[in-house]
Amino acid sequence: MTTRRAAYEARQRRRANLLAGGSTAVVLALLLLLVPRAPGWQAVRASFFNGEVFARTFPDLLSAFLVNIAIFAWSVPFIAALGLAIALARGARAPVLFPLRVFGAIYVDLFRGIPVVLLVYLVGFGIPGLGLPRPWNSPYIWGTVALVLTYSAYVAEVLRSGIESIHASQRNAAICLGLSERDTMRYVILPQAIRRVVPANMNMLVALQKDVALLSFIGPVEILRQAGIFKSLLANFTPYVVAAVIFLCVTVPATRYADYLMNRDRNART
């Protein structure tokens, strides 16, 4: 049986859906009508949305994207390890470890303060410039190093905020059981802190996946560089659109998943 309240809410919902559908249709219609009327539309369509170029460059760009994925994949473990080490260094309380704390603070300030692209240039061109022998002058190595430096600084801050968010009573309980500071961190604090910052770190991963494209500036033929090559070859910008589409296919599901995790986390805590 439908209650009076349920019937009312169903009416309200129908009304809201109608309005939302109507306004969306109007906006879409305006876009479809107005954009093609722009004076440069024919030229833009030919150079950015060329179906033929799209089909022809898609397979090569997709395989170039595998380079992005490879750089991404081997960067992540280094970022995780270094980020954790820096986070722990910044939390070190023993007087002997004071230099470590200072180092951690400087590291984070420095590498969060420099634009990634600048660091890619500085490390990617500067260090091989020292005259390193092959294969140690590879831009793959030094580009990766630049990404690892930047992202481990961010991840360290995320982890540190996670560690600080664990209530002091957890630490007290562990200490009162006789656990050492070290065991308390390892078995009680860190496992909870890392779980708590999974969503924030997911967003880091999405950003990293996009920033791998910055390595195109120092040599590796990944998707952005490959698109640039096609652009010059075919005198057409469609390859960039292809690259954007390929990126979106990875980043949209990943961000949605991060949002899902974050919402679940928030709901669990209230």
């Binding site: 009573s169 009162c176 059981l177 006789g178 050492s180 065991d183 078995y187 909870q192 779980r195």
Partner: protein, 245 residues
């Protein structure tokens, strides 16, 4: 006269400018059960936390089996194995099962042999009626069950003295009984215990001695019968009148 298990002398403690304990003298004998009663803010919790060194005291002595553990710089690590504490808010580790919560410290600190540990811990869970809940996580247990796990966790370190900081205050009324039963059973074992509590009936039934705390001092202490029927201190009378209405 034998050395008391726990002896406090002239213990003072301040947080910043707020003095919380003004010179506490208290001794707890072997196998004795002492209940601290008093209004919130009277210093019961702080006193308990000073007894195991969780809060460093400003002045005075805290002697555990004759050793002054309040001496600045004293290594409290080994002491913590001999004196267990259970908190009002359980403080179980939420990312571990009840069983792992209990096993963590014996594994890492005592390095107990795994087979012996499992048998011993299982026996503790069964003794306190939680045999079927060992694999559950804290958020799958009721408050009373969580608090019993917290007691088991402290007991697994084989302490000789136990401190309980209002361990039933965060529980729904119908769950208080099962936790008090645990204390009763420890009492029967002859465990030395100090409790901060608002459970007056329980304190009266089981305590060897009641200490009434008021504004950071032990205003009155004595056997339960005396304290509850013929308190000598006006503030004790007032407190009991307000709580036993």
């Amino acid at each position: 006269m034998p050395e008391p298990r726990l002896a406090l002398r002239g213990v003072t403690k301040s947080f910043g400018d707020t003095a919380v304990l003004h010179g506490i003298d208290l001794s707890v004998g072997l196998g004795e059960m002492v209940c601290l009663i008093g209004a919130s803010g009277s210093g019961k919790s702080t006193l308990l936390r000073c007894m195991n060194g969780l809060e460093p005291v400003d002045n005075g002595e805290v002697r555990l089996d004759g050793v002054d553990i309040a001496e600045p710089g004293f290594d409290l690590g080994p002491i913590r194995q001999r004196i267990g504490i259970v908190f009002q808010s359980f403080n179980l580790f939420p990312h571990m099962t009840a069983f792992d919560n209990v096993c963590l410290a014996p594994r890492r600190v005592l390095r107990t042999d795994e087979t012996a540990l499992r048998t011993g811990v299982q026996a503790l869970f069964e003794r306190f009626g939680l045999g079927g809940h060992m694999g559950k996580y804290p958020d799958q247990l009721s408050g009373g069950q969580q608090q019993r796990v917290a007691v088991i966790r402290a007991l697994a370190m084989r302490p000789q003295t136990m401190l309980f900081d209002e361990i039933t205050s965060a529980l729904d009324p119908e769950l208080v009984g099962e936790v008090l039963d645990v204390l009763r059973s420890l009492r029967d074992d002859g465990m030395t215990m100090v409790l901060a509590t608002h459970e007056m009936g329980f304190a009266r039934e089981l305590a060897d001695r009641i200490c009434f705390m008021d504004k950071g001092v032990i205003a009155e202490e004595g056997p339960p019968e005396t304290i509850f029927t013929a308190p000598g201190n006006a503030r004790t009378k007032q407190f009991l009148a307000s709580i036993l209405r």
